[in-house]
Amino acid sequence: MTQTMEPSSMETSNGENSHRPLGVYTRPKGGSGWRDWVTTVDHKKIGILYGAAALLFFVIGGIEALLIRLQLATPDGTVLGADTYNQIYTMHGVTMIFLAAMPLAAAFANYLIPLQIGARDVAFPRLNAMSFWVFLAGGIFINLSWLLGGAPDGGWFAYSPNTGIVFSPSHGMDFYAIGLQITGIASLVSGINLTVTIFNMRAPGMTLFKMPVFTWMMLVVQLLLVFAMPVIAVALFLLTFSRLFGATFFTPELGGDPLLWQHLFWIFGHPEVYILVLPAFGIISEVIPTFSRKPIFGYPFMVFSGIAIGFMGWGVWAHHMFASGIGPVSVAAFSLSTMFIAVPTGVKILNWMATMWGGRIKFSAAMLFAFGVVSMFTIGGLSGVTHSIAPADTQQTDTYYIVAHFHYVIFGGIIFGLFSGFFFWWPKVFGHKLSEKMGKLNFWVMLIGFNLTFGPMHILGLQGMSRRIDTYSPGFGFEAWNLVVTIGSFIIALSVLIFLINVITSARNARGLPPIGPDPWDARSLEWITPNPTPAHNFDEIPIVESLDEFWHRKYGSDEDGKVVRVASAEDVCQDGSAEGVHLPSPSYWPLVFAIGLPFIGLGLIYSLWFCVFGGALALMGLYAWVFEPVDDPDVDHHEPQKEDASD
């Protein structure tokens, strides 16, 4: 299980190694400060980078949402023009889905999966770094469009032929198509990487059905990514070639069919919904048992319902297209499959509640956010079931009812879930808790703001207010609810502000204090065996796994009456991070160099092929240098054996 790599510079006293690497390209030695971060291949640091970048994009997407709400607060709004409004709502969707929610999930996946399965890193550490930098490059590339003649304006799902040159003459949609292609590379590579990690790097004894539910859900997500990303890649290629090279895929007068885009997009797009929500399901499946002090109810059902969602997610895409004239047979079939997919989701909700039932519930901030998921996601799920009834859906299509529904799912399900994860794993990552008091305040403010924002949208939608309109006239009965929605959106912004303040003040309060010590929550899964914050080498000694909730079973046993009793203290069970000479992958510049090349190739396709030459050369140089980078450990045969002291 050890990586065949040189000793981590963090583990050696002087931060330098004595051996001279072979070949022309030397590898960076880690060092400190920013250079450490841009060359890192450590899954934990990459997870933190993902989280930081995604939170930045989350704030940008949030500001875009506030602009939308300012425009719609009153009838005949004049804050934004129609054209700017189109760009803002498009970028709000693109940013929140591709640049905030997905990478936030990737942050948790990167940080936690190796720890939960008892590994020292992911299967391909440099590819992992590449995934992050490519994602960041793609995100910056899409947002560059703001400065270069206008952002994408075709909606996040970019229906053809609206996105053709005729109806969208600015370069915005080019940035959309190429930018998402770039972030797609990141998702695909990361999907392959983490799939291999989970299948191949589990600690001895950790069979698939002893893996924590979070890792299971993430495995389903990675497989969905692996199979869904190529489909959106093809759709984006068709769009790019149509716009840049005059291909006729979506030119109706020559026989091109705009519905092709819808099918390709939603064959990706519906699995994407589960790519977004399953990580949150995984997070709260760790949080709820911990704070209910009970094992998860029906573990196999949790796992299999997640797998079932992963499979069935491929068979419901046309429910996004009921109003597009796909014919009664298709509509009936997809109605049925959509109703069926509510079943495994219902199983999960039942199991979370059954986990809490009879438990000694501790109302921590993380647990409150998990409650938020269970309750708010259920509302979104129920309004989703109303969409599966096609006649009703035909009424609801393209109204604010849809907007209400998917925000209950995405915000109520995913964002609440991710916040639950922040509060739960913050001590694991940074060695100190976030303030529980501010966290609880954060939760209630967010819950109130969320319901004020998206609850009234159901009513607005049923009253007939269309989505994507930049303004509305007075007299339709939209005024009052829209004002409430706008007020609610600012309350959400306040709750996010509370979170950011909490991050800063908690870090400041913890400065100078020793790390929080082992096991702050009396948790259950393997990642808590490592010290907080996690040392660079993760585990002093790879644990031998005997049961689900391994960590908990090391702390608790049962007496003669079958009552649960504590058998060991957390200090006894947890490792102390003192192992030395553990071989870790060395840092590398080349993932970053490769990633920087990609946006230039994109700019070249749009503006001038000279950029392509430069970007291509850079990317190629990155790849070749990567391949010819000296073998990580020239003296692979004589490396210092791993120390076997550590815990117990």
Binding site: L127, F199, N200, M201, L238, T248, F249, T251, L254, L264
Partner: protein, 198 residues
């Protein structure tokens, strides 16, 4: 996929690289699946341009397809040579495989230019766009494969490709066979299924 992981023990017993390659090829199936679907949708929509049935030269493409399929055989021979430790034959068959692949790509270039002369441009019709995109993506895959094979050849010529690294050849082989198998589907769908004529 360049991490040196051959000496590690893994949970499944497969190396990271091999498992990663299989997962990647699974992903590629969906890429070509979407492209083939696009072609199937548009094969009858040739607007005022040439129809597929009028323009395809099936005997020519059959020959180049045969060449590509034979390259899978030489790929197997290359791998088996290296697994036996026979580096000279490994190089021979690697080079042959790359050459056969290059012949196929050359045939595709010839076919494309012929079609272009006969009035089937990339922008002529949805059929032409879908045809060139699907076969073009496949051609790019074959070309990449040729580059990989030549890299292996150079590596071997410089004395860096020994029996212990046979898995690298095996992985490139997996990719190569995949590209061949995809071509069987593409060839069937485009050329063998009777095409509409104008």
């Amino acid at each position: 996929m360049t991490n040196q992981t051959h000496s590690e023990e893994t949970t499944t017993g497969l190396s990271h690289n091999k498992l990663g390659m299989w997962v990647f090829l699974g992903s590629e199936c969906l890429l070509f699946g979407a492209l083939i679907s696009t072609y199937l949708l548009y094969r009858g929509r040739f607007a005022d341009g040439p129809a597929p049935g009028d323009i395809f030269d099936i005997p020519f493409t059959s020959v180049s397809s045969f060449v590509l399929l034979m390259s899978s055989l030489t790929m197997v021979l290359a791998l088996s040579a290296l697994q036996r430790g026979d580096e000279r034959n490994n190089r021979l068959w690697l080079l042959t495989t790359a050459l056969l692949g290059a012949v196929f790509v050359g045939g595709q270039v010839y076919e494309f230019t012929t079609f272009l002369r006969e009035g089937l441009g990339y922008t002529t019709s949805p059929f032409s766009s879908a045809f060139f995109t699907l076969t073009g993506f496949h051609g790019v895959h074959v070309s990449l494969g040729v580059i990989f094979l030549m890299s292996l050849y150079v590596s071997s010529a410089r004395g860096n490709l020994h029996k212990e690294r046979a898995e690298t050849v095996e992985l490139i082989g997996l990719y190569w066979h995949f590209v061949d198998i995809v071509w069987i589907f593409i060839f069937t769908v485009i050329y063998l299924v009777p095409s509409p004529t104008s």
